[in-house]
Each structure stands twice: as C-alpha cells, then as structure tokens.
Amino acid sequence: MLVLVSYLLVQWIVLSSGLILLNKHILSEAGFDFPCTLVLLHMLFCTACACVWRLLDWVSVPLLGGPRAYCARFVPIGLCFAASLSLGNAAYLHISVAFVQMLKASTPVATLVVSFMLGLEQPSWRLTGLIVLISSGVGIACAAQVHPSVPGVLLQLGAIGCEAVRLCLVNLLLTLRGLRLSPVASVLLISPICALCLLPVWATLEAPRLLALGSAPWARVGAAALGQGRRASPLCTTRAGAPHTTHACMHTCDPSCMRWQAPACAPPSRSTSPRWH
C-alpha cells in the first residue's frame, strides 16, 4: 500500500510539473507563442483520448438528463476552464515558472472571495485572517520580483480569477447536486465544450498569425520533439499504446534532457521548412 501510494505520488508530481515545464518550454523557449492554440490542441486530444476510454468502457459517465441539463451545468464550467488555461499559458510568455508558482499560491484567496460573493461560504474572522496572510505573502513576493512584467502578472491573476470562478461553479453546479465526476469523466464532458468555446477566440486572435507563418512554428515544436525522441530512445516514438505513450512522454520530457535541448531550437526566425523532412 505504501509502495503504491508513493509510486502514485511520484507519478503525479512528475506528470504535473512535467506538463508545466513542457508548456513553458513550448511557449517561451521554443518560441511557439500561441497559448490559445496549445490549449485548443490539448482539449481536442483529451477529448479523443477520453472517447477511446469511454469506448473501451474504462470509465462510467453518469446520466445527465438531456442536452439542456448538460449545457446548463457544463458550459459555464467549460468556459471558465478554457479562459483560465489560456490566460495561464499566456502568462508563461512573460514570467518565469517560479514566479507563476508564487502567484498561484493566491488561488485560495480568489476562491474564498468568489465563494463569499456566491454565498457558498460565510465570511469569518479566521478566513479573513487567512486571506490577509496569503495575500500579503504573495504581495511581498510580487513586489520583490526582480524583473516584474505587468502583463504577465495581470494574465496570471486573470487565470487565477477564472480558476476560482470555475471551482465555485463546480461546487455549485455539480458537487452540491450530488454529482462527482472522475477526472476522465470530466475530461469527456468538459473538454469538447472548452474546445468549442476556444474556437472563436482562437480564430480571431491566433489563427491568422499562425496561418501566415505557415509551418515554421510547428517545425520549431516538432523538431525539438524529434531531436529529443532520437536521443531518448527509438522505442519512445514508435509505441502507440496508452501506457507506453505515458511512459514515453515521461521519458521524453525528462527535464535534464529538455535543458540542453533548448539552444537547439532557440532562434524563432531561423528556418521556414522543417529540416527533418
């Protein structure tokens, strides 16, 4: 039992910090500055995976009582989730991972404030004290930042705000009505909506620039992956089964590997065609 729990913990920590570092790397170091596109791709991929999971009958999705009830519950949540992820990813373009993590410590404050407003929680001295404590800590961390970037901080705070609203909505629309979803069931129910919500935003903000640049941005992220894959292990790129892919991903995004990979794909305007074709 202890072994299982520690394995799961390590796996979760590696995956979640790996994902943050990968996103930071793609957006900021590899120069793929399309945060919305990245979230859209995530959502589409996750929807596809969750559908496979559903087809294989590995996850049970509760009955929701018709499309109207489904929309009323999940559209607001999906909207907030998409906004929170896109803003959070956009913040990586401006500020470092360390600073983002420090700002994220203020999420409980935002959540508490939103739940006071929605009447989900009653203000108390204890909670007010905690709010003051956390926000003064984050305030100090923010004021003492060496190279402060105002847009970066604002984007991250916006992401935290959306995340807080989303958490409260999950509480209000799902948990309070006795509905608890497993993560994969949530993926299946929420990510298609996220993708739909993101589509118009993506089409206006990023699609024109992305299409104008042609294959160059893709070459940058693709080439980096190929380079790493080649170094890591030939098996990683050929295996397709889910557990293997997971394993391969963990292998490919090994931070030590990523670090010395960075210079190889640094200048954004170097080549227009993928060299590996």
Binding site: I13, N23, P108, L133, A144, L167, L179
Partner: protein
C-alpha cells in the same frame, strides 16, 4: 514536443484519478505544496529564474496561509463526514425498525424490499465540501481539482454501490448519489 505535452496532459488526468482513489486529503495537500516547491527549485537552479530573498520570505508567508487553509478545510470535511455517517446510521436504524415492523405485521415477503428501499433512501448524497487549496495545482489540462477529494462517504457507501450499480440504468431523473459511482477497471 507538442505531442509530449498533449500526452502528458491526458496521462495527468489518469494519474490524478488513481491518486484521488488511493490517498487522503492530507497527502494530496502535502504533495501539492511539495510539487510547487520542486518547480520553483527547478526553475531557479536549472533554468536561471531570478528570485530574490524577499520573494522567498513572501512565498513562505503565503505557504503558511495556504497550509492553514487546507487544514481548516480538512477539519470541516472530517466533521461533515462524521455527521453524515451518524445520519446514515440513524436512518439505517429506522429502516431496520420499519423492516421489523413489517415482518411483525405479516408482510414477511415484502420485508426485504422495504428494507432495501430504505437503505437506498439513506444513501448519503455528496455534501458540498471542497477545498480550494487544491486549485493551486492546476496545470495544463488537469481537470480534477486535487483539493476535491474522493467521495466523502466512499467507504460507507462502497457496499451499497455494488447493488446500486445495477439500478443505475433506469435512473433518468435528477442526478443522485447512485449515478455518480465511477470506477477504473
């Protein structure tokens, strides 16, 4: 690279699901804080982020607050759980009395059904407890709020879930506790 990010985001959801299934709220809170510290350490040591001493102090203050908040939430959750268990035990008792009364009045054959129905009625519905502290761990595309722990009455409801599973099919009214049963084979 982009592909790795996509795979990781889905794998993370599976990992979160497994973790929620097997650990307690405390473990998850600690893991969340540990992960944050690890990321900050990595960012500073290996990718050259500049963090001043005053910032570490500020972050330490914020962490104390966040930890106190998680603790507060856990206490509330434990209280509600105890309350819900007590309620359930009470209702179970009533159900048994009803069944006994039914048996006495001669409807022995229907007694079992009555008891089953009462047990279903007594099944706890998830209370609206949650922990916003887990939200700090949001990354990329993780759907579960790690603060949102496994169903409150998982242990107590486990036996009932077995039988409830078969009845789920004909449920099409509002969502109830029995429809939220999920599992990973």
């Amino acid at each position: 690279m982009a592909g790795a990010s996509l795979c990781t985001s889905f794998a993370l959801n599976i990992a979160t699901m497994a973790l929620i299934k097997h650990t307690s709220a405390l473990t998850l809170n600690v893991a969340g804080v540990g992960k944050d510290l690890l990321l900050i350490g990595y960012s500073v040591v290996l990718s050259g982020a500049r963090v001043s001493a005053a910032q570490y102090c500020g972050y330490a203050v914020a962490l104390v607050g966040v930890t106190a908040y998680s603790r507060h939430k856990r206490q509330l959750q434990a209280q509600a759980q105890a309350q819900a268990l007590a309620d359930m035990a009470e209702k179970q008792g009533e159900a048994e009395e009803e069944a006994a009364a039914a048996l006495e009045s001669g409807v022995a054959a229907e007694g079992k059904d009555l008891r089953d129905a009462a047990a279903v009625r007594a099944r706890p519905i998830g209370r609206g407890l949650w922990s916003g502290a887990g939200a700090r761990t949001l990354s990329g595309g993780e759907f579960a709020d790690v603060g949102e722990r496994k169903p409150l009455l998982d242990l107590a409801a486990e036996e009932e879930e077995e039988e409830a599973g078969e009845r789920e099919g004909d449920l099409d009214g509002p969502i109830t506790a029995s429809s939220m049963v999920y599992y990973l084979k």
